[in-house]
């Protein structure tokens, strides 16, 4: 196998090397890639979409259709992780509870359980370890700031690097930090699985829905210009707003999916203690 691998690798590497001889040299401003299609984005994007960050303009508008599917790919991954890993029935019905005031652990066998409304008891796993105070406090302190930054990244994607993806990932990461610092149950209590599932669908739905809405308004699919009919702005600014709308959708979807993947991977779909 190793020899075969080496052979394939060398073969493909050699082919690629052979091809580089015809490449324009690195960073050549006169290469076809830099002269054929892309100049228009640089020249016109501000004028046509009112978005100075050309990457955002291309991402969400000129090639917005790609990005819609990119978000869909993320969504697929979330749904796939849910479908593959999520276990609804626990394998063994051994329940562990921790009495919060005293720190005693209760082990219940059989059908009985403590109602989840109880404030004094906390459901735990057999492998429960006490939380680390410093980590807890720091992360609790940090999470709001992370989230604020994430919102900034989403909202300011028009003018600076960033956008829905990066913001969404950071937003998701803030919840993941909670799950790592405390445990998965705490994180899920804050941000439930159901909400998560609905939000992942909602995010991509916003994106595709904006596109479809443009089509309903009589333009092409994803032609945000059509939004000018209902928004009190000009056609160029309508594009800018459309981009913002889809970026928000992307942010929601990516956040929800990141959390979903983490939850399922970290707990093998049992939604217990987590790591």
């Amino acid at each position: 196998m190793k020899r075969l691998a080496l052979l394939i690798v060398i073969l493909s590497g050699g082919l690629l090397l052979y091809a580089t001889k015809d490449f324009p040299s690195w960073g050549d401003p006169n290469s076809p890639a830099s002269t054929h299609v892309s100049p228009r984005y640089l020249e016109k994007s501000l004028e046509e979409t009112a978005v100075p960050n050309v990457v955002t303009a291309v991402l969400a508008d000129y090639r917005g259709y790609d990005t819609m599917f990119e978000t869909t790919v993320i969504f697929c991954a979330g749904v796939a992780c849910f479908m593959l890993l999520r276990k609804f029935e626990p394998e063994e019905r051994d329940l562990y509870y921790r009495h919060i005031p005293t720190g005693l652990t209760l082990h219940i066998k059989g059908e009985k359980q403590i109602p989840s409304t109880s404030k004094e008891f906390e459901k735990i796993d057999a492998i429960w370890t006490p939380y680390d105070f410093i980590i807890n406090t720091v992360s609790r302190f940090l999470v709001p700031f992370i989230q604020l930054f994430a919102l900034y990244v989403i909202a300011h994607g028009h003018h600076s690097p960033g956008g829905g993806f990066q913001g969404g990932v950071i937003l998701g990461a803030s919840i993941i930090v909670l799950a790592v610092a405390f445990n998965l149950r705490t994180a899920v209590r804050r941000f439930g699985e159901k909400i998560d599932g609905i939000m992942s669908a909602l995010g991509v739905f916003i994106y595709a829905g904006v596109g479809a809405f443009c089509a309903i308004l009589g333009a092409e699919f994803l032609n945000y210009r059509a939004l000018a009919k209902i928004l009190p702005v000009g056609k160029v600014m309508a594009r800018s707003h459309g981009i913002l709308a889809v970026e928000i959708g992307v942010g929601i979807a990516v956040m929800a999916v990141m959390i979903c993947i983490y939850n399922n991977v970290a707990s093998e779909g049992k939604f217990d203690e987590g790591l």
Partner: protein, 81 residues
């Protein structure tokens, strides 16, 4: 652009990549892989691809590594190669 820096990072990237696939501890692989992603992200920001670098920093070096570590915790650290 400083080509010496560029070259150094490129070398580091390759070193990280080779290390990541040859370390015999999967947790080590995870961390090395995170380092690799981060180097990559630096490389891209040098090349003025800020958006890509940002994404790679948050996705590749950040969330991917977390997933990776989570998966390693849920499976095994041991590997034969």
């Amino acid at each position: 652009m400083i080509w010496q820096l560029d070259l150094a990072i490129l070398t580091l990237v390759i070193v990280c990549a080779i290390a990541a696939i040859s370390v015999k501890d999967l947790l080590g692989t995870a961390i090395l892989f995170g380092a690799y992603s981060f180097m990559m992200c630096l490389l891209w920001s040098i090349m003025a691809a800020v958006d890509v670098a940002f994404t790679e920093a948050s996705v590749g070096a950040g969330v991917s590594t977390v997933f990776f570590v989570a998966a390693v915790f849920r499976t095994t650290r041991r590997t034969k190669d």
